[in-house]
């Protein structure tokens, strides 16, 4: 792939990225969240069709212009996404041949389907009956089904996007062994991974991508691949003045979480949060770093009114006293607020006006005996519009028409109006432009200056480093490290993650 550039409205996701993958090798692609790895692979596999990006793809020495996934698949390029694309209530056999059924004149030949399924399952080392429903088998086995599905399409280049992120150690090892086996059979693989030990153990070469550009390609043979080298390449970027100044004066402990545990709501055997303990002080911004899927959002949501997970146990203390956070309204009453990472799905009622969204979490404050005073409500909304600079002609605009930055400010206003002691901010600046980001950092600083506590979850390490007094590092559901602002660096955070 030569100098691939891909632009989304407002964002340059890939900037002249080049990468060469040899036939028969396992090539690892590493980089931070949002560096552009998945975008690059979507370009390669035709998810983004030819013409929607600049640059050239050469496959087998020929210029390839895929207009869609079916064309790249015909050439043997198969991508397995991080979110598995299996239909949970169909059997393994049905999933393997979905869209590609063994059928004549639209009538499925079940005999042949099952036979071929069995052969494929043997190849990937999965001992399940072809008739088993996919949602009855674990994520590790589902991953193998995906690979079997790729094999059924005569795969030559297999792209795996974080295949082991949801797998246990044992399942991961099994998967990696299978990749080596496929390599011996001549299948080329590109694997996107955050786990550097895995990368080191199987990859022939490693390409590091950062901010939409290729940083380096390292050879395994020359012992070039060391974790430190990779981490340095992954994070090495300058930190200009992107964060407003703040004098930090943390006070007494405001919120304390003790031994917090939670299990996955559907896969009940999976523990998502393990014995998490953390504190937030008055006037302190505390960060939680971690990769996607490490359990940060799950931790926050399970604390905030048990909005996620099952079998939740643990204690939350506010101002030193245990509080009841078992439902959202109780959590709010105890002084918590949670700004969700997905503002459109979970944060806003999009069809409603700014004014109505802002007051939603604290309607009693603008009403008496259950009757809303619209005058008071408008005053409140106008107050926030002016105070935190929501750029809109009036508070009667529906929030669906606002830009991401302004929507985020509406969500923040909603929770400021609920008057919490501790705000949990989950990816507060995701998907908004630099200017709005700076403003939101300013709002956070003002909050802690008023003595509130902020717990900030972010996938952008520079943001955490620029904003936080203290950073917890989370990996696989556990808080694996804690760093003060002085100690913290991207390298140290990354090494906590990749070495835990």
């Amino acid at each position: 792939m030569r100098s691939i550039t891909k632009t989304f409205p407002g964002v340059k996701a890939l900037n002249a990225v080049s990468i060469t993958v040899m036939e028969g090798e396992i090539h690892a692609l590493v980089g931070e969240n949002g560096a552009g790895k998945s975008t690059l692979m979507k370009v390669l596999s035709g998810v983004y069709p030819a013409g929607s990006y600049e640059g050239e793809i050469h496959y087998d020495g020929k210029l390839a212009e895929f207009s869609g996934i079916s064309q790249s698949e015909a050439q043997g390029i198969i991508i397995i996404h991080q979110e598995l694309a299996l239909v949970p209530l169909l059997s393994i056999a049905e999933n393997l041949f979905i869209g590609n059924e063994c059928a004549s004149y639209g009538v499925v030949n079940w005999h042949e389907t099952f036979q071929r399924t069995e052969a494929l399952l043997r190849k990937v080392g999965l001992s399940e009956s072809p008739g088993t429903l996919v949602d009855r088998i674990g994520v590790g086995k589902q991953q193998l089904v995906e690979i079997a599905k790729a094999l059924s399409k005569d795969v030559r280049l297999l792209i795996l996007d974080e295949p082991t992120s949801a797998l246990s150690e044992k399942d991961s090892q099994k998967l990696l062994d299978l990749l080596l086996e496929l390599k011996a059979q001549g299948v080329t693989s590109i694997i996107i991974s955050h786990k550097l030990n895995e990368v080191r153990s199987i990859a022939d070469r490693v390409t590091v991508i950062r901010d939409g550009a290729t940083i380096s390609t390292l050879e395994a043979k020359g012992e070039e691949i060391t974790e430190d080298r990779i981490i340095r390449d992954m994070v090495g970027r300058d930190m200009a003045q992107r964060f407003p100044e703040r004098a930090s004066h943390p006070g007494k402990v405001l919120m304390e979480v003790r031994n917090w545990n939670a299990w996955h709501p559907e896969h009940t055997e999976r523990q998502v949060i393990r014995d998490a303990c953390l504190t937030v002080r008055e006037g302190e911004v505390v960060g939680i770093a971690g990769l996607m899927g490490s359990g940060r959002t799950e931790l926050a949501m399970s604390i905030f009114g048990r909005s996620y997970g099952r079998r939740i146990s643990g204690e939350v203390l506010i101002d030193g006293a245990p509080v009841d956070v078992s439902t959202v309204d109780r959590a709010i009453a105890s002084g918590l607020a949670y700004v969700t990472e997905d503002r459109k799905k979970l944060g806003l009622v999009l069809d409603e006006t700014i004014q109505r969204n802002i007051t939603l979490a604290n309607l009693p404050k603008v009403s008496s005996y259950g009757v809303i005073s619209e005058a008071q409500e408008i005053r409140v909304a106008e107050g926030y519009r002016a105070a935190i600079n929501i750029r809109t002609p009036g508070v009667f605009q529906r929030v669906v028409n606002l830009s991401g930055g302004n929507q985020q400010k509406v969500v923040l206003s909603k929770w400021l109006f609920a008057d919490p002691k501790v705000l949990i901010l989950d990816e507060p600046t995701r998907g908004i432009d630099v200017g709005a980001k700076y403003e939101i950092y300013g709002i956070i600083n003002k909050l802690v200056a008023d003595g509130k506590g902020v717990l900030m979850i972010s996938s952008e390490l520079p943001e955490l480093l620029g904003m936080c007094d203290r950073i917890y590092v989370m990996n696989e559901g556990a808080l694996v490290g804690e760093l003060t602002a002085a100690e913290a660096s991207q390298e140290r955070i990354m090494s906590f993650i990749v070495r835990s």
Binding site: G10, F304, G305, S307, T327, V328, D329, A331, I332, Y338, T340, K345, L346, G347, L348, V349, L350, D351, E352, R356, L360, A361, L363, P364, S367, G370, V371, I372, E374, A375, I378, E382, R391, T392, P393, G394, F396, Q397, V400, N401, L402, S403, G405, N406, K414, A418, D433, G435, A436
Partner: protein
């Protein structure tokens, strides 16, 4: 920062008028449609439609649909549907008949008991929908079958009646002329002075409240309705109310059921527009997850909308039985469809979160006037159904088209 200027700005009078119109096209369109339909039938029925007796009939015929539409609007705004209301109408009517005719209960015992039964029915269905997350379509489809069967069983397949006069008055009674001197004042022979005065007072109230809210909107910088629209709309509404009340006055006065319906409409309009409860129902329907994460007890709220629906369906059942003066096993068949159609014609959205009480009422009147007008014209029931179906489809297509155009 430059990317943040994409928000719509209303600069210049022209733009704000057209902007206002495009945002409120639905509201005006519906009222205009009602007027057009009435004008059409007034013409094709040679003036029968707006005769005093027929206007009275229109209210009597549609009262129970409108009363149920109030509850159904809340259910649909909350993102659900209730298919059981027709059967509940039949069941409660049957129950009332058994209580009064066979057991000899007084109406003062029967009515509260029946309303309570309605509440329990709503609670029973709402429980599964709200707390067990069973789709409302399924639960109320089951309820539809169950209560249809239950009313057959209660009545043993027979019609039961007639009812005491007091009970019939629930539907077919009229408010007596409390101000008899007015007709003497004007020297008219047959005119219910109370009805006329009530009409004038209500029309005045509507104009006064419109002016007040207009002033308030202006004070807070809301996009105000252009003056022309405001004047025309209010004159039309006030004129219509005075006209209808005068017509009613020259027949037998204000029907009891019109008063019940009117008060309920005002109560529910207030509930949806001005209370925290109403606001939360819209939030629940607009985005259940966001509502839940804002501390709204979404399950309880869903439960309550069904309890309310059950109560209103029971009330409608009593009124319907009172009107027929007999309870039959077939009572209320397919009422749910009329009610649901009224709510959707009134502009509610299938996906929840959108819809107004006044819209549902106008929607019910559109259906009611069409039923009535087509019957007077002698159009067969076959064509009537086809036409009603097409009107419903057209209203929803208009909604979707409008929404696509806006975004």
């Amino acid at each position: 920062m430059a990317t943040d200027t994409a928000e719509t700005t209303t600069d210049g009078q022209d733009r704000s008028v057209s902007h206002y119109l495009s945002n409120h096209l639905r509201d005006y369109g519906m009222v205009l449609a009602l007027i057009a339909i009435m004008a059409f039938f007034q013409f094709t029925t040679d003036g029968t439609l707006l005769r005093p007796v027929n206007i009275t009939n229109l209210f009597l015929q549609n009262s129970y649909i409108i009363i149920m539409a109030l509850g159904m609007l809340l259910v649909i705004v909350a993102g659900h549907i209730d298919l059981s209301v027709g059967s509940v109408v039949g069941f409660v009517g049957a129950l009332a008949a058994v209580m009064m005719v066979q057991w000899g209960w007084s109406i003062y015992l029967t009515v509260p008991a029946c309303l309570l039964v309605g509440i329990l029915i709503g609670a029973a269905q709402g429980y599964w929908i709200a707390y067990w997350k069973i789709p409302s379509f399924i639960v109320t489809l089951a309820g539809m079958l169950v209560f249809r069967g239950a009313s057959l069983w209660l009545l043993e397949g027979q019609s039961v009646g007639p009812f005491p006069r007091e009970f019939q008055a629930l539907s077919t009674g009229f408010i007596p002329d409390l101000l008899p001197f007015i007709k003497d004042l004007f020297g008219v022979e047959r005119m219910n002075g109370f009805a006329v005065v009530t009409g004038i007072v209500i029309a005045g109230l509507i104009i006064w409240m419109g002016l007040r809210s207009r002033a308030r909107n202006r004070a807070y910088g809301m996009v105000a309705e252009p003056m022309v629209f405001f004047v025309v709309r209010n004159l039309l509404v006030a004129g219509a109310i005075v006209f209808v009340s005068y017509k009613l006055a020259t027949f037998r006065g204000l029907p009891n059921v019109l008063i019940t319906m009117g008060i309920l409409t005002i109560v529910y309009a207030f509930l949806t527009e001005s209370t925290t409860l109403g606001r939360r129902i819209y939030a629940l329907g607009g985005n259940e997850k966001a509502a839940k994460l804002s501390g709204i007890r979404t399950e309880r709220l869903t439960f309550l909308t069904f309890v309310n629906m059950g109560m209103l369906a029971a009330l409608a059942g009593l009124i319907f039985a009172a009107r027929l003066n007999t309870a039959t096993p077939k009572a209320g068949v397919s009422f749910e469809l009329d009610v649901i159609a009224a709510v959707f014609i009134g502009g509610a959205s299938m996906s929840g979160g959108v819809g107004k009480i006044i819209g549902a009422v106008v929607g019910a009147f559109i259906m009611g006037v069409m039923n009535n007008g087509m019957s007077i014209m002698g159009i067969g029931i076959d064509y009537q159904q086809v036409i009603k179906g097409l009107v419903l489809l057209a209203a929803v297509i208009f909604d979707v088209y409008n929404k696509n155009k806006q975004s």
